[in-house]
């Protein structure tokens, strides 16, 4: 074991900035990270053992305890529940003979919950040793577990035919469906890879590239909506020996999966976009930060990069342009929603816990390893290629004045045709629902749990940065759903699990709000609880990053748009009820001392 760990550390040049890669390799090699391995890393990297452990314990997919020869991670997002997760969970527990959070005594199978794995259009889904298993049924669960017991290889477990499109690629072989339902400039097939870097960039200066991007008025597709051209310009101007291009492929917002589809079907467009950005800011290195849930794409994406290098779309002197050297490597996260926040992502890239940084300084000034860095979403890079190909002016004809271009939506939940839809900005919710075959809709979660839950009276609103802003996640809830119990509570649990814990506010407040919501759901709520929730939610605004600031949104937004659901649950005849239940609270002690509870004495 020692030798293998040493080899892994060596492979990454004993560089503590690559600790994440080292830990992931060790985890995959042994199924966990042992005390001995921690000692070796600490010794070799010159840090204390607790410093190694603090990184391990931050990430969901890293563990100091064995996770089993087969580690099963079953998605616990709301849509998974809507499509039968409970039955799948029970089937797994029954077949495997242990409960979630545990590993079988023989060390063969471990069962674990995990947050949204980007498969909302084909739930319930699970990740087993980096392979994705979608559309699970109790029968499939029994079969999978039986095959594990028979000692079959992982490949044999997925006996379904592979998914559609490039999911059938020999390096990918995923059972995932891309579910592309509507194509636009990004998902269409009318672009030939390399056209921009080989035929257009030679005619353009980096400044001209930035000018064109600015002219297009494109704003970041990840959700925050910062104007991309300005970001590139700031970074180009920032002084530094090196400049970095980072692609944020940590799509962790529950309900979003469009980056999965872009990276499966159009990875060349993303990588070329990164090269264009490298050219514009004067950077030679690009990093794709890919969420660990998409580890199954690793070999395929590496093969795409290799092919692009062969064609001189990456590498040195790209497009015969003197000095245009640019290459890309892929680095993985290990299960942490907060790493989608750009500065937390940078920390993770540097082999640390993914705790967001204080701003200023912004990444364009001090980013990866303190060098000026741009971080853009997968979709933004892909779009940039089309902008440079056809011009900023051309781009502005799509969408609206303040939200130009197209947006790829991940639509899931109660509808006939879940999947990805590339639409022009300015689409309204009503049209969207009709497009996907969603009837009897009660609510739409726009932009994921950190976004807004809207009701019918707001379905006339349009998608765009000045109205309903979204990174792409749209989850539809039909009339039959219990919004507070099934949806809002689940979202709050998500934020509790995913807080990095660094800020006092985000570490504690979501739990406090969750408990109060639970009290209301249990019929113990009073009017004051509603005003409390509203007031207390504001405290989260003092958190450092977007996760913390929006961690109360599921409650805040449902309280605003579905107030009647709360009103229906609270006790009208009481002003005070903190939820204390005398009968319940004496039950345990009475049982232990052997007496029947008696409330009638005195």
């Amino acid at each position: 074991m020692e030798n293998i760990v040493k080899q892994i550390i060596d492979k990454y040049g004993s560089d503590s900035n690559r600790l994440m890669d080292i830990l992931i390799d060790i985890q995959e090699e042994f199924g966990y990270i042992s005390r001995k391995a921690i000692e070796l890393m600490a010794l070799t990297l010159g840090i204390s053992q607790v410093d190694v452990e603090q990184v391990i314990t931050f990430y969901h997919f890293l563990s100091v305890k064995p996770r089993g020869k087969y580690a099963i991670y079953l998605n616990n997002s709301v849509v998974s529940y809507m499509f039968g997760r409970q039955a799948i969970k029970e089937a797994f527990e029954k077949e495997v003979g242990t409960t979630f959070g545990k590993v079988t005594d023989d060390g063969l199978i471990g069962l674990f919950d995990t947050a949204c794995i980007g498969m909302n259009d084909q739930e319930p889904a699970a990740i087993i040793n980096n392979k994705v298993f979608t559309r699970l049924t109790p029968y499939r669960v029994r079969e999978i577990v039986r095959h594990m017991r028979e000692g079959r290889e992982l490949e044999e477990l997925s006996n379904e035919s592979y998914g559609d499109g490039k999911n059938q690629h020999p390096e990918l072989k995923a059972m995932v469906s891309s579910n592309i339902r509507r194509k636009g400039m990004i998902l269409s097939d009318d672009y030939k890879t390399g056209k921009v870097v080989q035929s257009i960039l030679p005619e353009m200066s980096p400044e001209a590239v930035i000018a064109e991007i600015k002219h297009s008025h494109i704003r970041g597709r990840g959700g925050a909506g910062f104007p991309t051209g300005f970001k590139w310009e700031f970074c180009r101007r920032a002084k530094g020996e090196k400049h970095y291009v980072v692609c944020n492929a940590d799509e962790g917002e529950p309900g979003t999966f469009k980056d999965r589809v872009i990276l499966t079907e159009k990875p060349e467009l993303v990588f070329e976009g990164m090269a264009v950005a490298g050219y514009a800011i004067g950077g030679e290195e690009g990093i794709l930060y890919l969420r660990y849930e998409y580890r199954y794409m690793k070999d395929y994406l590496e093969s795409v990069l290799d092919k692009m290098r062969e064609q001189n779309f990456l590498g040195s002197k790209i497009g015969e342009i003197e000095g245009f050297d640019f290459d890309i490597r892929i680095q993985f996260g290990a299960g942490a929603y907060v790493c989608g926040e750009e500065s937390a992502l940078l920390e993770s890239l540097e082999g640390k816990r993914g705790e967001p940084r204080d701003k200023p300084p912004f990444p364009v000034e001090k980013g990866y390893l303190n060098f000026p860095t741009i971080i853009n979403n997968v979709e933004t890079f892909a779009t940039a290629v089309r902008i440079i190909e056809k011009g900023g002016e051309w781009f502005t004809q799509f969408g609206t004045e303040d939200s130009t271009g197209t947006k790829i939506l991940s639509i899931s939940g109660d509808c006939m045709f879940p999947g990805v839809y590339e639409v022009n900005w300015g689409f309204n919710v009503e049209d969207m629902l009709d497009m996907v075959g969603a009837y009897d809709v009660q609510a739409v979660q726009v932009g994921g749990p950190s976004g807004t839950l809207i009701a019918k009276d707001e379905f006339h609103r349009t998608l765009g940065y000045s109205d309903l802003s979204t990174g792409g996640s749209m989850i539809i809830f039909g009339k039959q759903r219990n919004l507070l119990k099934e949806v809002v509570l689940n979202f709050m649990e998500f934020f509790i699990d995913e807080s990095c814990g660094s800020c006092s506010t985000c570490r504690n407040m979501p739990q406090v709000m969750h408990n109060k919501l639970l009290k209301i759901i249990n019929g113990k709520g009073v009017k004051k609880d509603l005003t409390d929730l509203k007031e207390w939610g504001k405290i989260l605004l003092a958190s450092r990053c977007g996760l913390g600031q929006t961690a109360g949104n599921p409650i805040i937004s449902s309280l605003k748009n579905f107030h009647h659901l709360y009103e229906d649950l609270i006790q009208k005849d009481k002003e005070f009820d903190e939820g204390f239940d005398l009968t319940a609270s004496v039950k345990e002690s009475c049982k232990f001392v052997g007496r029947v509870p008696n409330f009638n004495h005195h």
């Binding site: 903190e578 345990e588 004495h601």
Partner: protein, 182 residues
């Protein structure tokens, strides 16, 4: 106008807060002029005999009797005050919160180092005894409490100033040194 009526009790507390009431020294003579005591260990009246204006609660709730007394205070008093850390946040009795009830009882009656005579390992379970709660609760998590006076014990000056302010309606001044949590 008749004198305001006062009631006090100690739930899961150590009577230290009541000692601190007595610590107002000679002002106690003025207090007797200002108020009439009803149910309280101070005058040993065991049950409420009339509606009370101000109820003072020492201690949190660790058993069913505490809850019962606290609820009767809420029913019979216009204003309720949580006096001291135990009433406010459970205090030292709440150190058991988080420890399983079985462990607590085992430590107290069977396995603890000071348990010597209980050779039959009897756990108290007479029907007349109060029943232990799953944890110690601050009073305001059971009934509505109107005012809170922190301290372990609350300083006598704080108790005095608060009572006078309540009775006279004058604004309460809180000098830095009277509000302490220890």
């Amino acid at each position: 106008m008749s004198k305001p009526i006062l009631a006090t009790t100690s739930l899961a507390g150590c009577f230290g807060c009541h000692m601190s009431i007595l610590d107002i020294d000679e002002r106690i003579l003025t207090l007797i002029e200002l108020v009439e005591f009803n149910k309280s260990p101070v005058d040993d009246i065991k049950t409420f005999t009339k509606p009370v204006d101000i109820g003072i609660i020492e201690g949190g709730c660790c058993n069913s009797e505490n809850v019962e007394v606290l609820r009767s205070f809420r029913k019979n008093c216009k204003i309720l005050i949580s006096l001291g850390e135990c009433a406010i946040m459970g205090g030292l009795p709440a150190l058991r919160n988080g420890i399983p009830i079985e462990e607590c009882l085992h430590e107290a009656y069977i396995g603890g180092p000071t348990v010597q005579l209980n050779t039959d390992h009897i756990l108290p379970n007479d029907d007349e005894l109060p029943m232990l709660l799953d944890r110690v609760y601050p009073c305001h998590e059971i009934v509505k409490i109107d005012y809170f006076l922190p301290g372990c014990p609350p300083r006598a000056d704080l108790i005095w100033d608060a009572l006078v302010a309540l009775i006279t309606g004058d604004p309460l001044k809180l000098p830095y040194e009277v509000v302490k949590f220890d």
